[in-house]
């Protein structure tokens, strides 16, 4: 086995290094082009998915040979061949996942992003999701996912046996099962993507588990053939299912353990909670505990992230309790709490403008300013006459940010309230 590994490992390392360098070059190119911040998140996502065909390609180039190739003619035990195959594939898997994580961190790390591009706190109020139209994102995502899945399967044994590209494609077209599976995976990917725009359909853990399983299945298919242990369609599906369950189980367990632990890592926990989507109902107490924790220092919880957390009902006890807590802390001079309240007000749908104004004033003056200057009236607002109130507040002073003070905002509200009571 030592001879096999000493033959293959250097090649694996060289190939993986080339793989890493090419990914870094892509990343540097993206930075050098000065891509707009709003593009980076979806572009980074697309690039990460493109890692898969790259990975599959490099996996094909550095493989333990299959089916009556020279490796079966050398005097080596079959058990050594199989074990070597396992080690080499695990090594490749670790390298590829490492590359994915590095790229993920580079693209999605809030600190590095915001530090590099001077991400201002004002922007946190805006929804930081994709700038691209949904249709284009949709298309890019499904295209990249289709490419990666197709490549993963094509770089299996069929490619190695066929040799000629035409023959490979011809064989691929004949494999109805693969086409159906691809279609289902693409559909699933589309659903994941689509629902992510509105609610987080699946936790990040499950998505990671899904693609890690694809990795493993694709990788394993090009190995384990030294002793004719071929993976046919059913065993491929079984392998995929087992690894998916295994990965998702581990990831979900670790996530659960982290979220429910007493470890003081509030910022990280809040970020994880924002990704949970519909599963937040199972973590209500933990979410409440973390949101009301005094250890929140500089969190940049965005409007969309808060939306993800507070999914259930406009007047849920969670929301009211948290809001009350932040109100109290804001009155005591906690600037973080005041900023969180602004985000929370904008995140909550269903409140009337006047209700928002009442909540904003007198706690957060900046929030009040934005509410006045950026308000767009709904039909109901117009019917209740509240739109004119807000417009008049804004028009009466041509307020600049620096000119807003507590009295300006509150006088606007108080005069309205006084007039309303008088009617």
């Amino acid at each position: 086995m030592k001879r096999i590994l000493s033959f293959f490992i250097p090649q694996v390392i060289l190939t993986v290094l080339a793989f890493f360098i090419s990914i870094l070059l892509i990343f540097l190119l993206v930075i050098a082009l000065g891509v707009d911040l709003a593009w980076q998140a979806p572009l980074g996502g697309v690039l990460i998915w493109i890692l898969f065909p790259f990975a599959a390609y490099f996996n094909r180039r550095v493989y333990l040979p299959t089916h009556l190739e020279w490796i079966e003619l050398v005097p080596v035990k079959k058990s050594s061949l199989i074990l070597s195959n396992v080690i080499i594939n695990i090594l490749k898997l670790i390298c590829i996942i490492l590359a994915s994580n590095i790229l993920w961190a580079l693209f999605f790390s809030t600190e590095s992003f915001r530090e590099y591009f001077s991400f201002s706190s004002t922007d946190a109020l805006r929804d930081s999701d994709s700038f691209l139209p949904d249709a284009l994102r949709f298309f890019l995502f499904t295209l990249s996912m289709t490419i990666c899945l197709v490549t993963c399967f094509i770089t299996g044994k069929e490619w190695q046996q066929a040799g000629e590209r035409r023959e490979v494609l011809a064989r691929f077209r004949e494999r109805k099962f693969i086409l159906i599976f691809l279609a289902l995976c693409t559909l699933l990917g589309c659903l994941i993507f689509y629902y992510e725009s509105i609610v987080t359909f699946l936790p990040l853990s499950l998505k990671m588990a899904f693609f890690c399983s694809l990795f493993i299945t694709a990788f394993v298919r090009t190995g384990f053939t030294a002793n004719k242990i071929y993976y046919n369609k059913m065993t491929s599906l079984l392998m995929f299912s087992v690894t998916f369950l295994m990965f998702s189980g581990i990831l979900l367990f670790n996530t659960h353990k982290f979220l429910t632990s007493d470890i003081e890592n509030t910022e990280k926990k809040l970020q994880e909670f924002t990704k949970l989507g519909f599963m937040t109902r199972y973590y209500q107490d933990d979410i409440k505990k973390n949101l009301m924790s005094s250890s929140i220092k500089n969190t940049q919880l965005t409007v969309s992230e808060l939306k993800n957390i507070f999914q259930s009902g406009d007047y849920s006890s969670l929301y009211l309790e948290v809001f009350a807590n932040w109100n109290k802390r804001c009155d005591e001079g906690d600037a973080t709490a005041c900023r969180l309240i602004s985000n929370l007000i904008f995140a909550r749908e269903g409140f009337r403008p006047i209700q928002k104004l009442r909540m904003a004033c007198p706690q957060d003056l900046r929030g009040c300013y934005d509410l006045i200057t950026h308000h767009s009236a709904t039909e109901r607002d117009i019917a209740l006459g509240e739109d004119s109130l807000l417009k008049s507040c804004g028009a009466s002073s041509n307020l600049k940010k620096s000119e807003i003070n507590k009295d300006t905002c509150c006088s606007c509200f108080h005069s309205y309230w006084k007039n309303k009571k008088a009617r």
Binding site: E69, W70, E72, L73, V74, P75, V76, K77, K78
Partner: protein, 286 residues
């Protein structure tokens, strides 16, 4: 000593019996050709010997060791040459063979380099960059380089050009003279008789005959027939083997045919291995 011993070997693929109760032995130092039509099971026998296929029934011994027990050490003693073998790897062939040789107890890289030079093949290309014939030559050289005792060669003669074929046949003859054993499968029958010692003919999943080449003319005669309605053509065992330039047809017939038909004309040319091959092929179709 029997280098190869096959006893009651049977093999099926998807319920189709490809080999049925095959028995043969190959002694040390022999050059044996395995003949048969396409799909007769020749390559299957080699695949079983090299361990690429598992036998359904029977026993196979290589150098006295049962192959079912995966005696991987004997792969030092076996060289296998086939078009299916690919040295495809992201490095040039010279570098690849340098690493490949480390798997064996001994590997003569100088021999490969010298022979490649004689054949006009550069070892500074990746394997996929060679032609079909060149690939086969490289595989054959690699098989010879680790000094095996048994060479299993699958359909090489049809791939090589005439000069390369001649070069390698001389290498193989030299190999057998030094005590090596060669088992080659081929369809080019008329060449085999010039370098083989024995032939095994497989037809309909079983061995039709196994004979030393020198024994062939003793069993059959070759005759010329002018008349297409000659009664000898209806006799058992008479098989057409070719047409002559004067328009007559050549047949081979059992040796005692002259006793029955004294007027037939004997073809003075010797019965060749190809004649015998056609005879047994056609017998198999009846």
């Amino acid at each position: 000593m029997n280098v190869v011993e096959v006893k009651n070997l049977s093999k099926s693929f998807q319920n189709v019996k490809v080999l049925n109760d095959i028995n043969f032995q190959i002694q040390e130092g022999r050059f044996l050709a395995l003949l048969g039509k396409n799909g007769s099971g020749k390559s299957t026998i080699l695949n079983i010997l090299i361990g690429n296929e598992k036998l359904d029934q029977g026993e196979v011994f290589l150098f006295g060791k049962d192959i079912k027990k995966d005696p991987y050490e004997i792969k030092n003693l076996i060289g296998y040459v086939s078009e299916k073998i690919q040295f495809s790897y992201p490095m040039v062939v010279g570098k690849f063979l340098e690493n490949y040789g480390k798997f064996f107890d001994s590997f003569d890289l100088d021999f490969v380099e010298k022979a490649a030079h004689d054949l006009g093949i550069s070892l500074n290309k990746q394997f996929d960059g060679y032609s079909r014939g060149q690939k086969m030559q490289i595989v054959l050289l690699a098989a010879l380089a680790h000094k095996p005792k048994l060479l299993l060669i699958d359909e090489i003669t049809s791939v090589l050009d005439a000069s390369s074929r001649k070069y390698f046949i001389s290498l193989l003859k030299d190999f057998t003279l030094k005590g090596g054993t060669v088992l080659i499968t081929t369809n080019i029958v008329n060449e085999v008789q010039y370098f083989c010692d024995e032939v095994i003919f497989i037809e309909n999943s079983s061995i039709k005959f196994q004979t030393a080449l020198k024994d062939i003319p003793n069993n059959f005669i070759k005759i010329r027939v002018h008349d297409a309605d000659h009664p000898i053509l209806n006799e058992q065992g008479v098989v057409w083997v070719g047409i002559n330039s004067d328009g007559t047809q050549s047949y081979i017939a059992p040796e005692d045919s002259f006793k029955i038909f004294p007027d037939i004309v004997r073809d003075l040319r010797a019965v060749t291995l190809e004649d015998l091959y056609i005879y047994h092929s056609q017998q198999g179709q009846k």
